[in-house]
């Protein structure tokens, strides 16, 4: 019996490395050819996520709920800022949920390649599957997070339900591309500098407060008092548009910020290509450095 296989049956490895475009193309094609491996890795992730806890995968639904509850109590009740925003729990939940997805992707990226140390040293496979699989698990966890969101809307805010909700996947695609590019870059960098994990944690927290999660973009405009510089900078944050669009669809029931969203999408595609390039450049050193 000969081995039926998804990997090429012969290869040549030499000290000559392909150029940038060829590397990006190679990264995409070799990842696409290993879809089954990615599926297995995701399944393994999901299986493990449920073990050793009493409630298992129920935590995917409870985690975002508790997170929302904490911010509601802090900002809405203690600081008393929720009063001016009607339905404040929904207002923050529809931004916290996608943000949680982003943090999970970045944090998963930090551990993705480093955690595969043993594998990387023992067997040849396209290492891109590692951050891709962890990013995909985060997508699934986001999908589960939508369950309490919809339940909350159904029971507490039925008049906010609109057909715009159907467009959530569109914003999701934009966010997925952007998160993936960050996840891939972080997973490669963390191999060389373990500081990346620490730094990422702080940046994520700062980024969270700088993004319109607990407040709206209008609040920023009010504070900026027409200061064009602040508003310009604020617009550069991709999450201004991503979270703003989610909020339009879910909370306001209006059209998303199409132009902003489109700009973020284009930028995210470029970032993804650069992240793949960075990853592929670094990949040959993984087995030596880890």
């Amino acid at each position: 019996m000969t081995a039926r296989s998804e990997v090429p049956s012969s290869f040549r490895s030499s000290s000559v490395r392909p150029g940038s475009l060829a590397l990006i193309r190679l990264g995409i094609s070799e990842t696409l050819s290993r879809r089954r491996l990615i599926a297995y890795l995701i399944r393994a992730d999901l299986k493990k996520a449920g073990t050793d806890t009493l409630l298992g995968n129920l935590w995917w639904i409870l985690d975002p709920l508790f997170q929302m509850l904490i911010y509601y109590v802090l900002v809405g009740v203690i600081l008393g800022r929720g009063g001016s925003t009607p339905d404040y729990p929904l207002f923050i939940f529809c931004a916290i949920l996608p943000w949680k997805w982003f943090t999970e992707t970045v944090q998963g990226g930090v551990g993705a390649v480093v955690g595969g140390e043993r594998l990387i040293k023992q067997i040849y496979f396209p290492k891109l599957v590692l951050p891709l699989a962890s990013a995909s698990s985060a997508v699934i966890s986001f999908g589960f997070g939508l369950i309490p969101l919809f339940a909350m809307m159904w029971f507490a805010y039925p008049d906010r339900i609109s057909a715009w909700l159907l467009l959530i996947p569109v914003v999701g695609v934009v966010q997925a591309v952007f998160s993936l590019s960050v996840g891939i870059a972080v997973s490669a960098l963390n191999v060389f500098y373990r500081d990346v994990g620490n730094i990422a944690g702080h940046i994520l927290r700062f980024w969270f407060y700088l993004s319109p999660t607990l407040y709206s973009v209008d609040d920023v405009h009010k504070i900026a008092k027409g200061n064009a510089l602040i508003i310009r900078w604020y617009e550069l944050n991709p999450f201004t548009h991503i979270l703003g669009s989610y909020r339009s669809l879910i909370y306001y029931g209006t059209a998303p910020d199409w132009i902003g969203l489109g700009a973020v999408f284009v930028a995210a595609i470029v970032l993804l290509a650069l992240a793949i390039l960075l990853f592929k450049r670094a990949e040959p050193s993984f087995a030596k450095v880890l």
Binding site: V7, S10, S13, S15, A44, L119, D195
Partner: protein, 280 residues
């Protein structure tokens, strides 16, 4: 040099292969601070050639035993042949599906059951999933896992893990099999069994490269052998001849070490100076 049969299919061809390690990055847990400190004292030489000027061929049906002292570059050589490490200079041509079992436990995820691990390992090796399902019963039986197959791997003994790893790597008949010290693991009974399996693969006209410290295995089952020291090939040829030279040189090294005192200044100087790779 052993009797080459020139019209036979070449499975592995290594031409002037060199692998350079950057010791600056190779350190565990590099941080910005360390890099910064090293940048300041740039005097340190941080390049290290684990292999240099290595050229050889393996034809189909051949079983090449690679021997040499610890740290000679044997495992690095296998990693290059498996495609895990790219050569820093020279090139490697590998024609055929490679199955590598460099340290036992490919794809092993502690939290997953044995059966899930087999599937995951198969996916990592790029095997078609139908093929993996086909071979599953064989792997389970060969690894002697019994009812343990459905429990997480973390409960396995090291012997069970070794058996499972060996079974997975040899479950399909790869064109080229790379083995690193696998024959030293497991109990005596399993060692015998694994020897038989490797011998089976050898006769199935597949190419094998194995790294081992078991000289009997080299003389019994390999039809060629290669001695590597300090990243270079010292001798390549008939197994008996190569093993004899290796034992002779090891004995000499031990003598020298004894003379210098193991922790003597000379021994340390000799170890750090790393003279250029000796060749035939």
């Amino acid at each position: 040099m052993s009797a080459y049969r020139p019209n036979e299919h070449v499975a592995i061809r290594a031409a002037d292969v060199g692998v350079k390690y950057n010791l600056r990055l190779g350190k565990k847990r590099t941080t910005f601070r360390e890099t910064f400190v090293r940048r300041l004292r740039r005097g340190d030489r941080t390049d290290f050639w684990a292999l240099r000027n290595v050229s050889f061929q393996v034809r189909q049906g051949e079983s090449l035993g690679v021997i040499g002292p610890n740290g000679a570059g044997k495992s690095t050589l296998l990693q290059v042949l498996a495609g895990i490490i790219l050569p820093s200079e020279g090139e490697v041509d590998v024609d055929g599906h490679v199955s590598s079992l460099l340290t036992l436990g490919v794809g092993f995820d502690q939290e997953l059951s044995g059966i899930d691990n087999i599937r995951l390992a198969g996916a990592f090796m790029g095997l078609d999933h139908r093929l993996v399902e086909e071979r599953l019963p064989w792997i389970v039986e060969y690894a002697e896992l019994g009812q343990f197959i459905d429990v997480p791997i973390k409960t396995y003994s090291s012997g069970m893990r070794a058996r499972l790893g060996f079974a997975i790597a040899t479950s399909v008949e790869p064109d080229i099999l790379l083995l690193d010290e696998v024959l030293a693991t497991g109990d005596a009974a399993f060692r015998e069994k694994s020897k038989l399996r490797v011998a089976e693969l050898v006769t199935a006209a597949k190419a094998i490269v194995l790294v081992t410290h078991d000289m009997n295995w080299v003389t019994e089952y390999c039809n060629r052998a290669m001695l590597i020291e300090q990243g270079g090939i010292v001798l390549e040829g008939e197994p008996q001849e190569v093993v004899d030279l290796h034992q002779e040189r090891s004995a000499k090294r031990r003598e020298e070490q004894k003379a210098a005192g193991v922790f003597g200044a000379k021994a340390i100087a000799a170890a750090t100076a790393s003279p250029p790779a000796s060749r035939r």
